[in-house]
Every structure is written in structure tokens, then in C-alpha cells.
């Protein structure tokens, strides 16, 4: 009997990584063993020759948002600052499978961002124009062109909020999140970087405003430099230093269906009706929604969010009617006032921060690693992440990626 095509994943390599005891001292300690922490360590080693380094993970490696996201990769952001960083990430994605020698299942199947109102259309065209001038592949498609790319999408007029068109980024797509994290981890393990799991950072050692190490549930660890990559848990760490950050942690839910014959050729996102959908390699539909409104570290969200998400999904994709939800889950995303990240130096010497990625963290993974590594190695931001400093909240030079508000009058 032939195996069902696509219903399974490629095998993992025979060896991934060790689980060493932490040493007493490292040149660099990265707090947070998620995608960003691992990618940062990787580029610190590869681009800057730093290998006396540990990545400390409070639980199991890449078990936070990296294990919980919907794996969408795109770079079609509005503002130059975001476009620069995300497009840099996109270029790295395009070579990452070879570089890590790991099957990341990176699939450039394109992403459609739907427009459901006249203002959506204006905003979409504005973003497409900005993307193209920034050298990012982007097109505006009318409803008929959208239907050609994704025939199962309901583009009829009778939708409550009809699809009036969409932006299309052909190079966008998805990858297999665990494989990405494990690819970085395996490479780091080979380069002698310590990946320390079940090691919770509980505080910092400091002399005045200079950070000299971290305190952990597995002992104190001295560090030349400490880089935070803890997403939703960042403020819990910085509170230890009295360092306030403008981030709020919210639940972000996702869900997955049973394995289905291929029906969905691309990735569809709709901010207006709060749903995004792709069909993963094994055949399961992967859906995400908007964040839950309230702060939470619970890694669980409210059910009405799921119901609303599925209502939108079935309206947009009538054929999903009898698909089944197998599993729902939630991550903890750290959101900033301008929906853009914070990456750079802190008021503390030798302490670096990367957080506030909200719902956009996964797609930025290699780009974050590249730029954050540069920031740590040179003690100054890479040009691409310079705009994402903390000062912008004081000056008002925000990078507002919320997009335009609903049209008035």
C-alpha cells in the first residue's frame, strides 16, 4: 500500500542536541531558548565567532511561542523600518534550509491579505506601493484574481463583508516551526554552544548598572553579556531590575484540524474578520485569530475567540464546514503600543533586550537573530533594528503597524 502523499513529515536527523549542565561562566548568556534566542546565538557564533555561550530555557527548548505559532512567514509590512527587518529575515529564510542542512519545510506558497472595505483597499494599495518601492514583492489583486489564486475562497458579493481584493506576496509562505528551532539548536550544539533546558532565570547579578550574570534555578551564571529573548515573559525578568518596558502580555490562540486532502494552496489572512488560515504539510488546516483582549500569562484563551474565528473561517471558506477542530492552544505574546518590536540596548551595561514582537515573532526569526547578534557583539544596534529602540516612545517616533483606523463619515 502506498503511503498517503504529504500525510507525513521528513525524518529528523539522528542527532539533535545535548542537554548539558550549565557552566559557571560564559561570554554571552541568552535568556530564552525560543526561536529568537536560538537564532541569535546561531548568528553570534557564525557571524561574530562567539561560542562560549549558553542559551537558557526555563522549560523545554523552543516550547513557548515557537511551538505555538501558525508559522506564517511574510515581509509585506507598511513602514520602511519594518519592511527592512522583515525582508532581511525573508532573504535569510530563503537560504536557511541549506545553511542549517535541515528540512524546514519552508514553502513559499504566497500570502493573501484580504481587503473587506474601501478603506482596507486604500490601505492595501498603500502597503503594496511601499513594499514595491522597498524591493519587496507585492501585488494588489482584485476579487477575481484572488479567486484564481485561492479558488476555495468565497469571493461572492453575498458575504457580509465581501472580499474586495487582496495584497499578494508570492515569496511569503510557511515553514515547520519545530524544525526551524531544532535546526538552529543542532547547529549550535555542534559549535559547542550550551543549550540549557529547565533553567529558569530568577534574577541578575550587577555592579551598579553593569550586568555581570544571571541567577537561575540551576545556580548563578556569570556572563560578559546577557541578552533577553523571552517574549511574553520579558517583563517578569526586567521587573527584577526595575526596568520598565512598554509591553503587555496577551493570549494568542490557534487551532488545527484533522489531516485533509490538499485544498488550500496558499495562506489567507483577514484582519477585518480576524482569521488566518493555511494548510500545513501533513494536510491539517492551521488557523489563528486575533489576540484575546486582556493580559494573561495563562497560555489559554477564551472560547468565544475560537468560535468567532471559525465563523469567519467558514464564511470565507464554505468548504471548511465539516472540517473538525482537533486541538486548540494559546501562546503568550508581548504587545507594544505601536505593534512593533523593541530590540537594542538597555539602560544597563551588557544587558540587551529583544521583545514586543506580538504576533509577528516567528516570521522575523532569522532576521532578529542576525540583527540582535550584531547588536550584542558590537554593543550598538544594527542599522536594521536601530529604529526599534526604546527611545522612540519618548520622542514619539513610533513605527505604527496597526494600520489605518476604520474609515469615518
Amino acid at each position: 500500500m502506498p503511503r498517503t502523499p504529504g500525510a507525513d513529515l521528513p525524518d529528523h536527523p539522528d542527532w539533535l542536541w545535548n542537554s548539558p549542565e550549565p557552566k559557571h561562566s560564559y561570554d554571552v548568556v541568552i535568556v530564552g531558548g525560543g526561536g529568537h534566542g536560538l537564532a541569535t546565538a546561531y548568528y553570534l557564533a557564525v557571524n561574530h565567532g562567539i561560542t562560549n555561550m549558553a542559551v537558557l530555557e526555563s522549560g523545554w527548548l523552543a516550547g513557548g511561542n515557537m511551538a505555538r505559532n501558525t508559522t506564517i512567514i511574510r515581509s509585506n509590512y507598511l513602514w520602511d523600518e519594518s519592511a527592512g527587518l522583515y525582508e532581511h529575515a525573508m532573504k535569510l529564510w530563503e537560504g536557511l534550509e541549506d545553511e542549517l542542512d535541515y528540512p524546514l519545510l519552508f514553502s513559499q506558497r504566497g500570502v493573501l491579505n484580504l481587503a473587506h472595505s474601501l478603506q482596507d483597499v486604500r490601505d492595501s494599495k498603500r502597503r503594496v506601493g511601499a513594499n514595491r518601492l522597498n524591493g519587496i514583492d507585492a501585488e494588489w489583486l482584485d476579487a477575481d484574481q484572488v479567486a484564481e489564486i485561492c479558488p476555495i475562497l468565497n469571493t461572492s458579493e453575498d458575504l457580509r463583508y465581501p472580499v474586495m481584493g487582496a495584497t499578494w506576496q508570492p515569496r511569503a509562505g510557511i515553514a515547520k516551526h519545530d524544525h526551524v528551532a531544532w535546526g538552529f539548536a543542532r547547529a549550535l550544539d555542534r559549535m559547542g554552544v550550551d543549550l540549557v533546558q529547565n533553567c529558569q532565570v530568577t534574577g541578575f547579578d550587577r555592579i551598579g548598572d553593569r550586568i555581570t550574570g544571571v541567577r537561575t534555578t540551576r545556580g548563578d551564571i556569570a556572563a560578559g553579556k546577557v541578552a533577553l529573548a523571552a517574549a511574553g515573559s520579558t517583563s517578569v525578568l526586567t521587573d527584577e531590575l526595575g526596568l520598565a518596558l512598554p509591553i503587555q502580555s496577551h493570549p494568542l490562540q490557534a487551532l488545527v484540524s484533522e489531516l485533509l486532502e490538499p485544498v488550500h494552496p496558499t495562506v489567507v489572512m483577514s484582519n477585518a474578520v480576524h482569521v488566518y488560515v493555511s494548510q500545513a504539510h501533513k494536510g491539517e488546516l492551521v488557523l489563528g485569530a486575533g489576540i484575546d483582549a486582556y493580559n494573561s500569562y495563562g497560555q489559554r484563551g477564551a472560547f468565544h475567540t475560537i468560535e468567532r474565528e471559525l465563523t469567519a473561517a467558514v464564511e470565507l471558506f464554505p468548504m471548511f464546514s465539516r472540517a473538525h477542530v482537533l486541538r486548540t492552544w494559546a501562546g503568550v505574546v508581548d504587545v507594544t503600543p505601536d505593534a512593533s518590536a523593541i530590540m537594542g540596548l538597555t539602560p544597563f551595561e551588557n544587558l540587551y533586550v529583544n521583545c514586543g514582537w506580538g504576533t509577528g515573532g516567528f516570521k522575523a526569526t532569522p532576521g532578529v537573530g542576525w540583527c540582535y547578534a550584531h547588536t550584542i557583539a558590537h554593543d550598538e544596534p544594527h542599522p536594521l533594528n536601530a529604529p526599534f529602540n526604546l527611545d522612540r516612545f519618548a520622542t514619539g517616533a513610533l513605527v505604527d503597524e496597526h494600520g489605518a483606523a476604520g474609515v469615518a463619515h
Binding site: 517578569v236 521587573d239 520598565a244 512598554p246 503587555q248 483582549a293 493580559n295 500569562y297 477564551a302 516612545f393
Partner: protein, 89 residues
């Protein structure tokens, strides 16, 4: 679906409320006297604790009153403030 205790209407489903974030962040008395950094604190910086959090909710679909509760951000257990007095931001 949390049950949020409106001090007036009693416990109602989370969907009837609008979230207001951290409580007790008063509007500065003399905004014009503040430095940009101090002003940014008021505009953008809010506590983000893991555990008990004093936060504001508005009973949007009900009596439209704003009120404060203390909620554990890891379990969503809510401990209501008794006072019916107007809350502060």
C-alpha cells in the same frame, strides 16, 4: 469565558466588557511640566505582572460603568474591589 463581576450588574460574561488595562495610572496633574520621558511613561508604560493585576473594565454592554478588579494573570481568578466608588485610571 471569564465571569467578570460588575459591581452594579453582577457577574457577566467577559464579552459584555471592554478591557481597560492597568488601573491607578492617573492623568498627570501638570502634563506640560513633564519631560518627554515622563510623559511617555504615562502614555505607553503599564505594569505587566505575572500574578495579581489591578485592572480596569468597562461594562460596555451593560451599565457602561468603569470599575476595577484584581485578577491573577496566570489563573484568571478575580478578586473584586468592594468599593462602588468611581475608579481611577
Amino acid at each position: 469565558m471569564m465571569l467578570i463581576p460588575c459591581p452594579w450588574c453582577g457577574p457577566r460574561n467577559e464579552t459584555e466588557f471592554h478591557y481597560g488595562g492597568q488601573a491607578d495610572v492617573p492623568y498627570p496633574a501638570e502634563p506640560q511640566e513633564l519631560s518627554d520621558v515622563e510623559w511617555a511613561r504615562f502614555l505607553f508604560y503599564r505594569a505587566n505582572p505575572k500574578g495579581l493585576f489591578s485592572e480596569r473594565w468597562n461594562h460596555q454592554a451593560g451599565c457602561r460603568r468603569w470599575f476595577t478588579v484584581r485578577r491573577d494573570t496566570t489563573t484568571n481568578e478575580i478578586f473584586q474591589d468592594d468599593s462602588h466608588e468611581a475608579v481611577t485610571r
